[in-house]
């Protein structure tokens, strides 16, 4: 039984966080391309700096255009608030830095974006933060990996690149038993296909560069605070429950309640680390969010056509897509992703590395590049690009094989995509036969 007065998803995609500009009547969200904002008087200025009154001070901390995007994503995900960042990687870093100090520990799914894997494996240890990786299907492994100093459990709605679907409610319960949050990177799913907060997740992040923006024109990230974790009861997060001298001794959990995490992320993280989103990028990403529900439906519809084509093709050794009965998480996909398992998936080209190379070089309509979630269809060979920093063991743990090709299916006519893929697979077959 839904709240009769609450707007539904498609309406929120277009309207959440915005009213027509009161000065000009502009219907579209204006680009407030300004660094700073005039104060009414000295008292109002002091009140803004002391968090007695809310408002904009400086665009590194907040901006009216960016704030529309933040509210809109928070609304779509069912959270209490959001902070947009310069990139998806900045979003992940902001969340980690808000939750823990040196000595902290993260338990992460092993099947995550290569950039996130690098951050956890190579960069955060320089700052005293360690990570233990667990196979996303090894639910009990998450429990075993939690230590007294663990401050975050992390995973992706759809693992990268194998599309593993972790048992989100069970892993959330494990995190909550330890008094720590589950954070989910839901970039591949978007709130149109899965709302992780409804499955127990406490923090959602996106690379807004991908489906949210949807057109490959702007880099950005976002973290959404579910407002669900009781930080006071946990007693593991002094950044949220102890006085913060950086803001006159403010206690974020005491004063902001369910919005404590996101309030601290902005007040400290954007202020001091400064990885903010530009107003123009927020504008570009907002254009994508406005059409997100219809685009995601078409992305999924096209992906299903392509999956069926590849799954039946002689030159293809395997296709990994959760809606196929052969996928290990087929049943879980029905529960967590009932609207579709996205439009990014992998398949194996018969003939190994040479056949894979021939395939990639033969396709024309699909663009060979390091991105996903574009309106245009994209293709990449993960072992030689996005996951190339991993050694053989890490590649195996992440499920990345040498024959693996990743597709991000766009919004073209699916018959044209199939014709292009057929051209690539013929080339792959020729390369394989010539070995």
């Amino acid at each position: 039984m839904a709240d009769p007065l609450a707007f539904k998803r498609d309406t929120l995609s277009l309207h959440a966080g915005q009213k027509p500009d009161p000065t000009t009547g502009a219907r579209a969200v204006p680009i407030y391309q300004t660094t700073s904002y005039v104060f009414d008087d000295t008292e109002q200025a002091a009140s803004l700096f002391n968090l007695e009154r809310a408002g904009h001070i400086y665009t590194r901390i907040s901006n009216p255009t960016v704030a529309v995007l933040e509210e809109r994503i928070a609304a779509l995900e069912g959270g209490v608030g959001a902070v947009c960042t310069a990139s998806g990687q900045a979003a992940l870093h902001l969340a980690v830095a808000t939750l823990m100090d040196a000595g902290g520990h993260i338990v992460s799914s092993a099947s995550i974006y290569g950039g996130s894997h690098n951050l956890f494996t190579h960069t955060l240890p320089r700052f005293g933060i360690e990570t233990t990786f667990v196979h996303p299907r090894d639910t009990e492994g998450f429990r075993k990996a939690v230590r007294p100093e663990t401050r975050l459990v992390f995973g992706e709605t759809l693992g990268n690149p194998g599309l593993e679907i972790m048992d989100m409610p069970a892993v959330a319960a494990i995190a909550h038993e330890a008094g720590i949050p589950l954070m989910i990177d839901s970039t591949f799913a978007t709130p149109c296909l899965c709302r992780p907060i409804e499955h127990g997740c406490d923090i959602v992040m996106h690379s807004a560069t991908k489906f949210l923006g949807g057109h490959g024109v702007a880099i950005g990230g976002v973290i959404v605070d579910a407002g669900t974790l009781d930080w006071e009861a946990s007693v593991k997060f002094p950044t949220l429950t102890e006085p913060y001298l950086g803001y006159h001794g403010i206690d974020f959990a005491e004063e902001f309640g369910p919005a404590a995490f996101i309030a601290r992320a902005r007040a400290e993280g954007l202020r001091d680390f400064g990885a903010c989103m530009s107003p123009t990028n927020a504008f570009h990403i907002l254009q994508g969010v406005e059409s997100l529900p219809v685009r995601m439906a078409r992305h999924v519809e096209n992906a299903r056509r392509i999956v069926a084509f590849l799954d039946d093709h002689d030159a293809v050794s395997w296709v990994s897509y959760p809606e196929l009965p052969s996928h290990p998480d087929h049943e879980r996909a029905k529960t967590l992703l009932p609207q579709g398992s996205g439009a990014i998936f992998c398949f194996g080209v018969k003939g190994g590395r040479e056949a894979g190379r021939a395939f990639i070089e033969a396709v024309e309509l699909l663009s060979h590049l390091a991105n996903v979630g574009d309106a245009k269809s994209l293709v990449i060979h993960p072992a030689s690009t996005t996951h190339q920093q991993m050694d053989a063991a890490a590649l195996e743990a992440a499920g990345v094989g040498e024959d693996m090709v990743r597709l991000s299916i766009g919004l073209e006519d699916p018959d044209d995509l199939i014709a292009d893929l057929e051209r690539g697979l013929r080339a792959a077959a020729r390369a394989g036969a010539g070995r």
């Binding site: 039984m1 839904a2 709240d3 009769p4 007065l5 609450a6 707007f7 309207h15 959440a16 966080g17 915005q18 009213k19 009140s47 002391n50 968090l51 007695e52 009154r53 809310a54 408002g55 904009h56 901390i61 907040s62 901006n63 009216p64 960016v66 704030a67 933040e70 509210e71 809109r72 928070a74 609304a75 069912g78 959270g79 209490v80 608030g81 959001a82 902070v83 947009c84 579910a226 407002g227 669900t228 009781d230 006071e232 006159h248 001794g249 403010i250 206690d251 005491e254 004063e255 902001f256 309640g257 369910p258 919005a259 996101i262 309030a263 902005r266």
Partner: protein
């Protein structure tokens, strides 16, 4: 800060500054199933501008121990017991919705303890919708959705919170979800059963402010005006476009109304 009241631990936020009963004290009381965090912006202002603040969690709410008080008069007496325990003689009382009934009743029963009285989203009586009562009796989540849906004004359902990036109705819903099972129903029954508003208003000796959301569905504007007319000395502020939860929907206008009344008017 924690205060022992009637043998149980009670919590009151102090706006980010140590509590000093020697300063002019303003006490904030939340509505049904909410807690002190609803006053985050207003309370902080008064604490940093020459006063001292107690934004209380009623028994069984927020960080205060239970059990919940079963009636508005019981809550009013608890509030004055809290003032006693905190060493406060006279205070400004500010209440929202059910909390407005609590401070109204407290001002009537303990006239010497109240300097000024501010009521937000208030009416002489606040009858509660039967569906809401029924759903809250079952601890059905739909009760919280109804409360959020009706409590926030239509305009607030688009968002545009003064705090950048905060999704207003999401925050309200999550705050309500924090209440322990049974608390919302106890509060709603207490609110629904309170019939002493008119008599209390007639008894109040201090100046009273009534803050009205022009599009309030739960305590409609005309009921707020009716309440204001029952005081010997009252001021009314109508916030255009706001619903029942104007302190979150329009935090600055709410703060300005309180500041004008509690501080600037002397």
């Amino acid at each position: 800060m924690d205060i022992q009241v009637n043998g149980a631990r009670a919590f009151a936020a102090t706006g980010g500054r140590p509590f000093d009963p020697g300063l002019p004290v303003t006490v904030f009381v939340h509505g049904a199933a909410f807690d002190h965090t609803v006053w985050k912006l207003q309370a902080r202002y008064f604490a940093w501008h020459g006063g001292s603040v107690l934004a209380v969690d009623l028994p069984a709410h927020g960080l205060s121990e239970g059990p919940p008080a079963a009636s508005i008069p019981e809550m009013a007496d608890w509030l004055v017991a809290l003032l006693d325990a905190a060493g406060v003689g006279e205070a400004n009382l500010v209440g929202h919705s059910m909390g407005a009934l609590v401070v109204l009743e407290a001002a009537a029963r303990h006239r010497t303890r109240v300097r000024k009285l501010a009521l937000l989203g208030a009416a002489p009586a606040i009858p509660v919708n039967d569906l809401l009562l029924d759903k809250s009796a079952e601890d059905d989540h739909h009760a919280l959705e109804l409360l959020t849906g009706w409590g926030y004004g239509r305009r607030a359902h688009y968002g545009v919170h003064k705090m950048p990036g905060i999704w207003m109705t999401g925050g309200g819903l999550r705050t309500l979800e924090r209440a322990a099972p049974g608390v919302l129903h106890t509060d709603l029954v207490a609110t629904n059963g309170y019939e002493g508003g008119e008599a209390a208003a007639a008894t109040v000796a201090c100046p009273a402010l009534v803050v009205i959301g022009a599009r309030d569905l739960m305590t409609p504007a005309k009921r707020g005006h009716a309440l204001a007319g029952m005081f010997a000395d009252s001021t009314t502020v109508v916030i255009p476009g706001a619903g029942h939860i104007m302190l979150d929907e329009e935090p600055d206008r709410t703060l300005d109304a309180l500041k004008d009344f509690l501080v600037d008017a002397g």
